[in-house]
């Protein structure tokens, strides 16, 4: 089992969600996050007062998947979240020790 974390542009969320649904992913956790990468921040100007915004809003997806699905999920996210411009985001793949469904107590692949 793996935990896939993807940081994407906020406006891409719906597209990515729909695409993941299509390949049979049944659960995603979504958070609104802020940060910076190569895109850096931007400046805002209010009546001549300039403020640098260092952290830009992004969406973080967390998806737990069985090993054999990892490649497909990564490919789907890559294809749908990509705009080709700087700031498209990143995908991290983390090992996952265990998954438990709270309602039934099922574990492992059954719980995902």
């Amino acid at each position: 089992m793996k935990l896939i974390e993807a940081i994407i542009k906020p406006f891409k969320l719906d597209e990515v969600k729909d695409a993941l649904n299509e390949i049979g992913i049944t659960g995603i956790t979504v958070s609104e996050v802020k940060g910076f990468g190569r895109q850096k921040g931007h400046t805002e100007l209010y009546r001549g007062a300039e403020y640098v915004v260092d952290f830009i809003p992004k969406i973080k997806l967390e998806i737990a998947v069985a090993d054999e699905l990892v490649a497909k999920v990564v490919e789907t996210i890559e294809n749908t979240a990509k705009t080709g411009r700087i700031g498209d985001g990143k995908i991290f793949i983390l090992p996952m020790e265990e998954a438990i469904r709270i309602r039934t107590g099922e574990k492992g692949g059954e719980a995902i």
Binding site: L45, R47, G48, A49
Partner: protein, 489 residues
């Protein structure tokens, strides 16, 4: 440098296009002007304010024939609405300012405006109206106390109420109840002091602000209103033009804002920390409310218009027109100036431009024609945009640009009124140099008086109860530390 040049170029282009238009309009108008003037020709080229029942002696000496006032219900209906419109400007101002502060100071900033509605209205009823519009007590500087508690506005004859009437022009009968006039003027007093709150936002102690409101209205506003709008006020007698309060309201509050922050100092963290507006939608909503209320402010001011006994007539229509055109042009000119200068047309910029246009047209609203209003609007947006940029340059902390918009806008408006006036008065463009000089005198006198007295008030408050909150309280935010509330939960 290049950007500055482009702004100047833009301004020049606009001027060269529009100036001939205005001149044309002026030429077309001038032949009719004598014909439209009343045959009786009251000499004053200024608003006449003569509360008849209480102060018949106040009538201009040269008026040929005085007629008894007759209640005009149409005028009264409009003035009741106009007064309510002007009251609405103060909550509008609260939201205009509130949107521009950080979220931890939202309620505090709203309260600066709202509490003025409480304090100033009470002060007005008790003594303010009398000080401003009572019979002259001393050399045209201040009214006496004979109308304290609004005394004399109602009397009883055989048990039936008799309402005192306010007659604008003594040669014509049109009049409204003095209660309506008094309350209309009351709303002006409320918003004027509230305007100052933008400069001292995010760091003033609430108790100090409450006292400031009371003292400033009594010591600065009431005398100024007497000088400029009362028939025996000294600037009124000099012939200074101020249709709806460019000098009394905007210039005075803008200059006073500057004086107040000299004692108050900068906000903690200014200018390095991020102090971006927390809710610009509120600010733009405030702009809308202000513009809407301003129709009462300017078009209602026909009640003290030149040789005009109609509060709801042609002069009100003219003021309504200029109050629509100037802010529209100013919103655009600020937006375009910002677009050229810093690359993007901002929403805050457009909104600020609208307010700048309203400020600049206020003293001129019923004295100029639409062509001049258009030019004044364009100038307003560009001049006030530069006024606001000054803050970044000189590093003084006028939190929400009261001086940049109202101080500079009010001064510009008062000057330009002396340039463009064609209706019921003449300005520089019509060859009246004296009028322009009178405007300068009025600006210097009102501005100087407001500045010095505000320094005194701020000094006294600073030495007694202290103007500013503790540094820690300021960082936590005034909502929590001054009011034990938070705006958003």
């Amino acid at each position: 440098m290049k950007c500055k040049l482009s702004i100047i170029k833009l301004l020049l282009v606009a001027l060269t296009v529009l100036a001939p238009l205005a001149v044309l309009a002026e030429e077309a108008k001038s032949p009719d002007a004598p014909a439209t003037a009343p045959a009786a020709v009251a000499p004053a080229a200024v608003p006449a304010a003569a509360p008849v029942a209480a102060a018949p002696a106040a009538a201009p000496a040269a008026a040929p024939k005085t007629v008894d006032p007759v209640l005009n219900t149409g005028d009264t209906a409009w003035m009741l609405v106009a007064a309510a419109l002007v009251l609405l400007m103060t909550p509008g101002l609260g939201f205009f300012y509130g949107g521009m502060v950080r979220s931890k100071n939202m309620l505090s900033t709203l309260m600066h405006s709202y509490v003025a509605m409480g304090i100033v209205v009470v002060q007005w009823a008790v003594i303010g109206y009398s000080l401003a519009f009572g019979p002259d007590a001393f050399m045209g500087l201040l009214g006496d106390t004979s109308k304290a508690m609004m005394h004399g506005l109602i009397t009883f004859k055989d048990g039936a109420p008799v309402f005192a009437l306010f007659q604008n022009v003594t040669t014509e009968p049109g009049a409204i109840p003095e209660y309506v006039f008094s309350l209309y003027q009351c709303m002006f007093a409320v918003i004027t002091v509230a305007l100052i709150s933008g400069a001292i936002a995010e760091r003033i102690k609430f108790s100090a602000w409450c006292l400031f409101v009371l003292l400033w209205t009594t010591i600065v506003y009431d005398p100024l209103a007497h000088w400029v709008w009362m028939v025996d006020g000294w600037l009124f007698k000099k012939g200074a033009l101020d249709f709806a309060g460019g000098t009394v309201v905007h210039l005075s509050s803008g200059i006073s804002a500057l004086a107040a922050i000299m004692f108050l100092g900068k906000r903690h963290g200014f200018p390095t920390e991020r102090m971006a507006p927390h809710n610009l939608p509120f600010t733009l909503l405030g702009v809308g409310l202000l513009w809407f209320g301003w129709f009462g402010f300017n078009a209602g001011s026909a009640i003290v218009g030149v040789n005009c006994s109609d509060a709801a007539g042609g002069l009100a229509g003219l003021a309504f027109t200029t109050t629509t055109i100037a802010p529209a042009a100013a919103g655009l000119s600020w937006m375009i100036a910002e677009w050229i200068h810093s690359g993007k047309p901002s929403a805050l910029g457009f909104g600020s431009g609208v307010v700048a246009g309203l400020v600049v047209i206020t003293p001129a609203a019923g004295f100029v024609e639409p062509g001049a209003a258009l030019i004044m609007g364009i100038i307003a947006g560009v001049v006030c945009y530069m006024g606001v940029l000054m803050k970044a340059k000189f590093k003084y902390d006028d939190s929400l640009d009261v001086f940049g918009v109202h101080g500079i806008g009010g001064t510009t408006g008062a000057l330009l009124t002396g340039v463009f006036a064609t209706v019921g008065a003449t300005g520089l463009l019509s060859g009246n140099v004296q009028q322009f000089i009178t405007q300068l005198v009025a600006i210097a006198a009102a501005g100087g008086y407001a500045f010095i007295m505000t320094l005194v008030i701020a000094f006294v408050l600073e030495k007694t109860i202290g103007l500013r909150v503790e540094k820690e309280d300021e960082i936590i935010g005034l909502d929590q530390t001054q009011h034990s509330e938070s705006a958003y939960n």
